[in-house]
Symmetry: C2
């Protein structure tokens, strides 16, 4: 066990009709003038945005709105939000949507609460000393940003995608009504489930520090997400299954499933990051397409964990050797991915990558991690390239 900090201050209001508590929660956390920040038109079409602004109107809480947060949210919109908040004296942010709206709102919050260019934080130049308080109404279960300390922003100039993590950015509250996720298309639901699983798996496949209780929680969470992803494949309107996945999404990335470990592996995310930079692919699907190749490349260096995963998460029959048991677990997870419509190769992802592209992605990935990274196995550029090649 390594020492760890655990800090999840976000107040979660979970369940049906919890959106009705929006104004009360904003007041509870001191909000007097709100920026309602959202993404695409889906929250307009569904009527959610109008419902939220009606609630604010009724409660007499003044607000301004800003839409347009896209997947891999853009820095230019963040700047726009910061300027709007300053002009309108906004003291509270309300993100309505999924990870894009939340991450964009976090960045706006850093920009308002700190002097200078907000990109400095994402550029690792300095640390934020605060963030405007932020509430969330979640409509997609996937990124876990509603309880996490992290946000990812893309600077359009050079398409630089960077993450910044700070406890200051953890939302004050998160309203989570599974009903709001009912209308997600199957593909996006499966992508979300994959992303949720990967947040815990990145923490699980590590060499050292693992705690029994953390493992038990992680394994239970992964089994729950898989069981309910399959239920949602059959019946996307299954409220209880939506609830299981939604709550798993928050717990998977708020720190709980990594307590005591060495910080996690995170190389599947880093590799997918490069895929997402070069091709227009959904994050969850990209993770699924890469994971099997990563796992086969690294498992021998992290065998006890892959064996445990095979037995306790994928619940395979033990094979005659630990290596074979581990491989059965990897295969079983790939089978699961296929059953819920996720790709297990770049081809299935719809990506036809040239040798040059693979090399470029491996090179950019290696540069991005300062040469080498990974806990299950330390990966360098040649390893990254080998994994990309195996994933074709």
């Amino acid at each position: 066990m390594f020492n760890f900090d655990y800090f999840t201050p976000t107040k979660v209001a979970f369940g049906r009709n919890t959106v009705s508590r929006t104004a009360g929660l904003i007041r509870e956390f001191g909000g007097k003038k709100v920026l309602v920040h959202y993404g695409s038109g889906s929250v307009i079409r569904s009527g959610l945005l109008k419902k939220v602004t009606d609630l604010l109107d009724e409660a007499g809480i003044p607000y301004v709105t800003l839409g347009g947060a896209v997947p891999n949210p853009h820095l230019s919109l963040v700047y726009e939000g910061i300027a709007l908040c300053k002009k309108e004296n906004v003291d509270f942010l309300l993100a309505v949507g999924g990870g894009s709206a939340i991450d964009s709102a976090k960045a706006i919050g850093y920009g308002v609460a700190n002097e200078g260019d907000v990109w400095d934080f994402y550029d690792y130049k300095r640390k934020a000393s605060g963030c405007l308080p932020l509430g969330v109404i979640l409509t997609i279960a996937a990124t876990g940003s509603e309880m996490s300390d992290s946000s990812v922003i893309t600077k359009e100039e050079g398409l630089v995608k960077r993450g910044y993590s700070s406890d200051h950015g953890r939302p004050k509250f998160a309203i989570m009504d599974p009903e709001l996720t009912m209308t997600l298309p199957d593909y996006q639901t499966a992508c979300g489930c994959t992303d949720i699983m990967m947040h815990t798996m990145e923490r699980y496949f590590t060499n050292g520090g693992n705690m029994e209780i953390t493992d038990a929680i992680a394994e239970g969470l992964l089994r729950t997400v898989m069981a309910n992803a399959e239920k949602l494949k059959k019946d996307p309107k299954d409220f209880n299954a939506r609830a299981e996945v939604m709550w798993a999404g928050s717990l998977s990335h708020n720190g709980l499933t990594g307590c005591g470990n060495d910080g996690g592996d995170w190389m599947t995310h880093k590799l997918e990051h490069e895929l997402g930079g070069l091709y227009d692919v959904a994050h969850g699907a990209g993770l699924a397409a890469i994971w099997g190749s990563w796992a086969r490349y690294v498992y021998k260096n992290c065998l006890p964990r892959f064996r445990k995963f095979a037995l306790n998460v994928m619940q395979v029959e033990p094979a005659s050797s630990d290596e074979d048991t581990a491989l059965r677990g990897i295969e079983a997870l790939e089978d699961f991915f296929r059953r819920v419509g996720m790709p297990t190769s770049l081809r299935e992802l719809g990506v036809n990558a040239s040798e040059d592209d693979l090399s470029l992605m491996a090179h950019k990935c290696a540069v991005g991690v300062n040469g080498a990274m990974g806990s299950a196995r330390l990966l360098r550029e040649e390893d990254m390239l080998a994994i990309f090649k195996a994933s074709v």
Copy 2:
């Protein structure tokens, strides 16, 4: 699934030498003048108290100290603490110890932050609108008070023991170094493990609302506590086992293992409460002594849960009927209690209760819960008496 709120704002600093972070954490949460509140002489004898005050001296943070918090902490000491805080302009509380010191400090915090008699809150007369900020250095893994919203105080006049729960009382930070629990006697360690398990079991044995993910977490936590309680029985100095139990203690009672349920059963706690009022017994041992009799009395009314507990927690072989599987689970847990030196009857607890005492306890318990309580099975006074009689 029922709607739920989840709010665990306590910043946990877990692991070796985390006590060294005391002053920094007090500063982080705005403390300028501290009341260091502790219990018995053990934190003096171990040198922990001196270490803490030395750290405050070094950091230039002024403080006053108040010892004397006992198990079932007394209202008179709470009043003393409130007066001391007001006189000394204390703005931050630091509890050093186990549940007694923490619960006492929470009550002091309510008393300083609110006008009027602090007992009003414990007497259900009104609600606290705030609490002095509180930090914890935990030395006993048991009550979970370091992350929970609850505290229990005893008014000496009439020996009235009452609990009060409020999010205002949740500690700002908790420093948890498993090393600090190394010297606990075996009996107290086993009592702590029982208390930890019961906090989750009270939430587990319910009729309705259960979520798969909450169950998986609860079951994993219970298996972890049992495995490590047995390790500590063999080697009380096993650091990793101490760490597993310590972290389980916080997670067991911070709300995580009850998300989505109907609020829990809590009757084993209520019955033990009366035992503890009449006899001088350790809380954890009292819970173990009662639980089996409670379980056999209620299990048919909550059969799916007892069956699931038997299979997933106690990991028994399924019997030919669900009833028998449930009974196997109950027996297996009693076997565990015996293996770690916990009683499974009043006699083993060292209590020789007369018929009159049993009737008195059942009556007081029924009055205390306004006539009837329980989710696994609704219990009235006659049921409570039957359980007490069966537990002799």
